[in-house]
Amino acid sequence: MSERVLGSLSLRMGPAQVVFLALLAVLVLGAIVGGAEFMSMETVVGIQQRSAALGIVAIGQTLAILAGSLDLSVAVLISLTSLVAAEMMESGNVAGGVAGALAVSVLVGLVNGAVITKFKVHAFIATLGMTLVIKGVLDHLYDGPAGRVPDSFQRLGYDRIGPIPVSALLWAGVALAVWFILTRTRTGYRIYAVGGDVEVARLSGVRTDRVVIITHVLCSLCAGIAGLLLASRLGAGAPTVGTDGGYDLESIAAVVLGGTALAGGRGGVAGTVGGVLLLAVLDSLFNLLEVNSFFKDVVRGVVIVAAVAVYVRRRKS
């Protein structure tokens, strides 16, 4: 499928459709180039597993961005929650570990939201500051992986039901929940309102600070869930698992790739799911073709910028 066809089709579709179309195009390309191997169970499962953690974080990031904010602290929070969970689970207390990790997430989200709304610190700086705070704590307390999760919990990371990994189901669950919040609840409507124009929302009686704080709590919760998932994969917590994965900027990239406006107020979950899958499928295709990993970075950078350029073009016409 040529660029031009993509471009002209995109004029009639929303960004979410464009990203799924691109996804389809890459899948077709993969099937042609990679043949049976690309469509093998192994590849399909690989794509799902690779995308699950990023997908969950990106869903949370979608909320933050829709509300006109953004969260750079998700990567370190993933590391932190993986450690909290793994350490608490060492005694075999899975429920306690999950609860602990999620509680830490809520706390971080609350602080992010409060600093942004009450102290009027730009989200970029507030969450960058939070990143440093958490990074300091991590570096201070840990030199390497710590804690251990029981085998039962590891099943979250590796089991699958038929061709579908449990982790992918978790991702789907998170996506559905957030989709429900955004399209069916008052909170969701207000997130769009606050991201669209905070002053308008305020004058319409929306308690805008509260909306931003809730959004950040939900975003951090998603990061916490991703941290749990990664802990179950690794069998332990790791102080660099989040930053090594580049979940902060990559989740923002996936959201924007899915057509959500960086300025807030426009976009949604479907696009983000498409954006994450597109990145994962590209990754699989490159793996299959044994493309140098640095080349992958280059392509990813180009894809993200090009996608946004296409969306902007579409909106202008």
Binding site: R186, A193, D197, L203, G205
Partner: protein, 483 residues
């Protein structure tokens, strides 16, 4: 129904409202007038729960209320329709109407109920040109205003504040708004109507309250005051004449710009000569292409065909280089960098064109009667009138031969208006060719040496100075009899 008593408010120790009392009855339109900075908006924001007063009471139906948040005011039945509409362009009409109060069923937003109720409200207001699912961003300003009113009605507001509701409406839309206001009044609502325009006050209101410098001057029955009494209450002095004298024939010079058969997507067959020393007024309904013509002459939305001598500009820079300037309609969005200083704004054009010199700034600022002529102050702290003077100074730095004014006194109070009128005439007298667009016909008639009327992108005719409002309106409206 509404009673505000002895309201005081200060910002950073500066008293902006003192001892204001105001009330409104059910079924009454109560006009609120005063120059910019008189405190109207602050008073209304107190009523809306945006600001909290330091002293004084508000009561509704005799019950004292305190508003700590816009939501409190909303619950008490107060709705505000701001001058700058408070709608979300990306969301639907229904979503906007119910923003902050979405109906729910079993915890979920009840979209169908929302759309049903919005349809009902639109029907009540006689609006059938759009529906509840349309995106607000695609509606016209007038349609958006209807959405705002729906929003007010949907909260069962009984007190509606309208802040200059006609500021961005075309003439025929103003009539629709009048109907709407009367309908609201018949429903037993109390309406506080803020406006600069005398005609609206006399057409709509039963009582009128005048504010000046944060204090209450008077409340009168509208039927008992005359227009000039009202103006003098506002400015605290009699304005003997509004407009400077027109140009004498010998003051009109050569043709500076000559346009023949020019057009673009919205404009057709434009023939226009602008002479040195002459103010050419341009009338037309909203949507007739007034602003488009200004922007075409200025190269911002260029003509695509036809001739223009000495040069048909293809860009703003070409136009400026050829000695053409434009004072835009929307000062804040298009005219000024609000967070920069007066000096930086005044020098913007000359710097952009590579003719930067700071030497004459102070002189220029006194020339446009900016008081105080302080180049260090940030422009956003100035009143509308003073901001407009900075825009004028900005153009005067490059001494254009032609200056196009698009609504030069919009949002400017009465006092500063006269100063701007004098300045425009002064520039003409010094040999500048002026093209002036205004939807305020008295201003256009008072200022222009001749009046051109634009209709549906074409020049419909030329009228002599001092033509009546009726003649202009006839020509501007696509009206068989007038043609």
């Amino acid at each position: 129904m509404l009673s505000m008593r002895e309201i005081d408010k200060s910002f950073l120790g500066v008293r902006v409202l003192s001892d204001i009392s105001l009330d409104a009855e059910a079924g009454e339109v109560h006009a609120l007038v005063g120059e910019n900075g008189a405190g109207k908006s602050t008073l209304m924001k107190i009523l809306a729960g945006v600001h909290t007063p330091e002293a004084g009471t508000i009561s509704i139906d005799g019950v004292p209320v305190t508003f700590g948040h816009p939501l409190d005011a909303q619950r008490a039945g107060v709705a505000i329709i701001y001058q700058e509409l408070t709608l979300l362009p990306e969301r639907s009409v229904a979503e906007n109407v119910f923003l902050g109060r979405e109906p729910t069923r079993r915890g979920m937003v009840d979209r169908s109920a929302m759309e049903r109720q919005t349809s009902k409200l639109l029907l009540e207001l006689g609006e059938s040109t759009f529906g509840p699912r349309d995106a607000v961003g695609r509606l016209s300003v007038a349609q958006q205003q209807v959405v705002e009113i729906c929003k007010a009605l949907s909260v069962d507001a009984r007190i509606i504040v309208m802040d200059e509701p006609t500021a961005s409406l075309a003439e025929h839309e103003v009539e629709l708004l009048y109907d709407l206001v009367r309908r609201l009044r018949e429903r037993g609502m109390a309406i506080l109507y803020i406006s600069h325009r005398m005609r609206e006050i006399f057409d709509l209101s039963q009582r009128v309250t005048v504010l000046k410098d944060g204090a209450l001057v008077a409340t009168r029955n509208t039927a008992d005051v005359t227009q000039s009494e009202l103006v003098s209450l506002m400015v605290g002095r009699e304005l003997s004449h509004y407009y400077p004298p027109r140009a004498a024939p010998e003051e009109k010079g050569e043709v500076v710009i000559s346009i023949r058969g020019a057009g673009n997507a919205t404009l057709h067959d434009i023939d226009l000569d602008l002479r040195a020393g002459e103010i050419t007024g341009l009338a037309g309904l909203q949507g007739s292409g007034r602003t488009e013509l200004a922007k075409a002459v200025f190269g911002a939305e260029p003509f695509t065909h036809g001739t223009m001598t000495p040069l048909r500009p293809r860009s703003v820079r070409q136009a400026i280089a050829a000695g053409i300037g434009l004072v835009t309609e929307d000062r804040k969005a298009e005219g000024l960098a609000l967070r920069q200083s007066v000096g930086d704004n005044a020098l913007l054009v000359s710097r952009a064109m590579g003719r930067g010199t700071a030497a004459r700034v102070r002189e220029l600022l006194s020339r446009v009667r900016l008081a105080p002529p302080d180049p260090e102050r940030e422009v956003r702290y100035l009143s509308g009138g003073n901001q407009q003077k900075v825009v004028l100074a900005k153009w005067m730095t490059v001494a254009p031969r032609v200056l196009v004014f698009d609504e030069p006194t919009r949002g400017v109070d009465v006092g500063a208006k006269a100063a701007i009128h004098e300045l425009i005439r002064e520039l003409a007298r010094e040999g500048m060719a002026v093209l002036m667009i205004s939807s305020e016909l008295p201003e256009l008639i008072g200022m222009s040496d001749r009046i051109l009327v634009l209709r549906e992108g074409r020049l419909a005719g030329e009228l002599p100075p001092g033509s009546s409002e009726e003649t202009i309106m006839h020509l501007a409206a696509a009206d068989e009899a007038a043609a």
